[in-house]
């Protein structure tokens, strides 16, 4: 592979006086699973928000698939092939489970207002297509039997899986997962690891934020560490494991936590 799939250069975000992310550079190659780790408030979510267009960066650039996508709207970035899940769940509570995922197929379909309103030819076929894709996504995460339930009644863990199914419905090249294991029990976590691995075999790449070190060390090809908005280390799990800066950053926060 010559060019990286995702490349982030000097990405910076300031909220008023607070610099949440500062001059972060890293890249992700096609088919890779890369973890972003760092203490609470390090700027991981903000980094994700900038990559997916939810927040405009203060400075810096994002390249995806060889094209610059800096400052694009989230829906444009989704069309280009990056989707995501959210740390604070953002399930569509006003829909059924399957409809949530069918909405994820949105950018692969074409039906517009007039076509839908008149139910012209093609609408029915697209509906079937969206349904089938959504169903198979639900099957892959193992909640197909809940397809017709209202999304809001799903337990927390299943809502996380639902977000992943929704994010994968448009067959993006890259999925960003923001703390996918948070709130999952060990069995669900293992299941999720399997899902990610399987999807990678299908050619999807992952960038994810996670606090659970076992998972991070277990599935990432590389790890990017940020602290106070700055990238302090990058490397394979083994390298990160021994990196002093990382250890200091983590021990540092633990001490702080104990002090409280």
């Amino acid at each position: 592979m010559s060019k990286p799939l995702l490349e982030v250069k000097g990405l910076t975000k300031a909220f008023g006086g607070v610099i949440a992310v500062s001059e972060v550079d890293f890249h992700l190659n096609e088919g890779e699973i890369v973890a972003v780790i760092g203490p609470n408030g390090a700027g991981k979510t903000t980094l994700f928000n900038m990559i997916t267009g939810v927040l405009p960066p203060t400075s810096g650039q994002v390249f995806f698939d060889g094209k610059e996508v800096t400052g694009n709207q989230p829906y444009q970035i989704a069309k280009a092939g990056i989707t995501r899940t959210f740390q604070n769940l953002q399930v569509f509570e006003n829909m059924s489970v399957i409809e949530n995922v069918m909405t994820g197929v949105h950018c692969r379909l074409k039906t517009g207002f007039l076509q839908a309103g008149l139910r012209l030819m093609g609408v029915k076929r697209e509906e079937q297509q969206a349904f089938d894709v959504a169903m198979s996504c639900l099957e892959k995460v193992g909640i197909a039997d809940l397809a017709f339930e209202a999304a809001e009644v799903l337990p927390y863990g299943n809502q996380r899986l639902l977000e992943i199914a929704r994010a994968s419905a448009s067959s993006p090249k890259l999925i960003l997962l923001d703390e996918p294991m948070a709130g999952l029990n060990p069995q669900e976590s293992r299941q999720l690891v399997d899902i990610i691995k399987k999807k990678r075999e299908e050619g999807m790449s992952f960038l994810f934020v996670e606090h659970d070190m076992e998972t991070v060390m277990g599935i990432s090809d590389r790890i990017v560490v940020i602290d106070y908005g700055k990238k302090i280390a990058e490397g394979t799990p083994a390298e990160i494991y021994e990196n002093e800066k990382v250890i200091a950053a983590y021990l540092g926060t633990e001490e702080e936590e104990e002090a409280i």
């Binding site: 997916t52 970035i77 569509f92 379909l109 309103g117 809001e152």
Partner: protein
């Protein structure tokens, strides 16, 4: 392992609808002229509120300015047919073009705003348009009103009796509802509802939320404008006071009563509102003999609050159950017309 089909997802069985249409056809022949005129009013309101339901119930955007679009349709038809003697259809089309354009111009900046501000901006916009109706006296007749709007004429056929008009309006309403329902049960409908559910998630999976909000706003404006055009032909006399902020709020009340997350909710709300309104006009003066003006709003205000607190889904889901029983349909697994357990409330994602 899963044998479900897409056809199980949305209730697209129309047995009940045929019954309903049959009832609609019979009613005018047993109704007296007063009831007929009331039903015409219901149908006109129903067209507006169906559009508004798309905007508020599904896409989650509040509008407190739809009387403006209703008024634009009414004045467009009044001026085109009354002043210039054009055919009725021209009036409607001019109204639609005008309302649609205004909706785009006002929608682009307004729909970026958060809930609080959106309500405010649309209310302010409605008052501005009202001012134009009032002040552009050469065109609209100002506060004196616009007299002598001819009856609606379509390709040589004059809708000059209440009975004919009744069929016109209700046919249009049913078509409007079906058109909306088709939209809701599709990619577009899911996109709209996803904005309501979580705008940031919708955006992040590829829904161009600004564009969808704008389009549904325009659609609802067009519904309101068409209803306004026909309203002008029906009453033959209009004045700006028919298109005040209070009228916009009235539309909203109907949507909430009916149930904003149900495509039949707008129509149900219009029926309940108009009938209740007529009832109150009869009953209240018995207790307050000197009462004048729109005293009924005290009841609708209280009703609005009570429904939002105790029955936030409105009447539609309950009525839907009764209707399905009457129509003798088995309650299928996924046979819900609206979104399942649609977010109880009107508009906006929870933050």
């Amino acid at each position: 392992m899963n044998h479900s089909k897409v056809s199980e997802l949305y209730n697209r069985h129309y047995g009940g609808l045929f019954l309903f249409i049959a009832a609609l056809v019979i009613v005018p022949f047993v109704a007296n002229s007063f009831l007929l005129s009331v039903l015409i009013l219901v149908g006109l309101y129903g067209i507006v509120t169906t559009g508004l339901t798309m905007l508020m119930g599904y896409a989650g955007q509040i509008s407190l300015g739809h009387a403006a679009f209703y008024g634009i349709g009414a004045y467009a038809s009044a001026v085109m047919t009354g002043t210039y003697g054009m055919p009725g259809i021209v009036g409607i089309l001019v109204g639609v073009a005008f309302a649609g354009t205004v909706a785009v111009l006002i929608g682009i900046p307004t729909l970026k705003l958060k809930e609080n501000y959106l309500a405010l901006a649309t209310l302010g916009f409605g008052i501005i348009i009202f001012t134009f109706f009032k002040e552009l006296k050469e065109i609209t007749g100002g506060l004196n009103g616009f007299f002598g709007i001819p009856s609606f004429n379509l390709f040589g056929f004059a809708f000059d009796t209440d009975l004919k008009f009744y069929f016109l309006i209700w046919a249009l309403l049913i078509v409007g509802i079906l058109f909306s329902k088709n939209i809701i049960d599709s990619r577009v409908g899911r996109a709209l509802r996803s904005i309501h559910g979580s705008d940031v998630a919708a955006n992040s999976i590829g829904v161009n939320i600004q564009q969808y909000k704008l389009k549904v706003f325009v659609l609802s404006a067009v519904y309101a404008s068409v209803a306004g055009s026909l309203y002008a032909h029906y009453v033959t006399f209009i004045n700006p006071n028919l298109f005040t902020a209070m009228e916009s709020i009235t539309f909203l009340i109907m949507v909430v009563i009916g149930g904003s997350a149900n495509i039949w909710g707008g129509m149900i709300g219009a029926i309940v509102y108009v009938l209740l309104n007529e009832l109150l006009k009869e009953v209240v003066p018995m207790f307050f003999p000197n009462v004048g003006g729109e005293f009924q709003i005290v009841f609708f205000g209280i009703l609005l609050v009570a429904i939002l607190i105790y029955m936030p889904q409105g009447l539609a889901p309950t009525l839907g159950k009764v209707w399905r029983r009457l129509a003798g349909r088995k309650n299928k697994k996924a046979a819900v017309t609206g979104p399942p357990n649609a977010d109880a409330t009107v508009g906006g994602s929870k933050s």
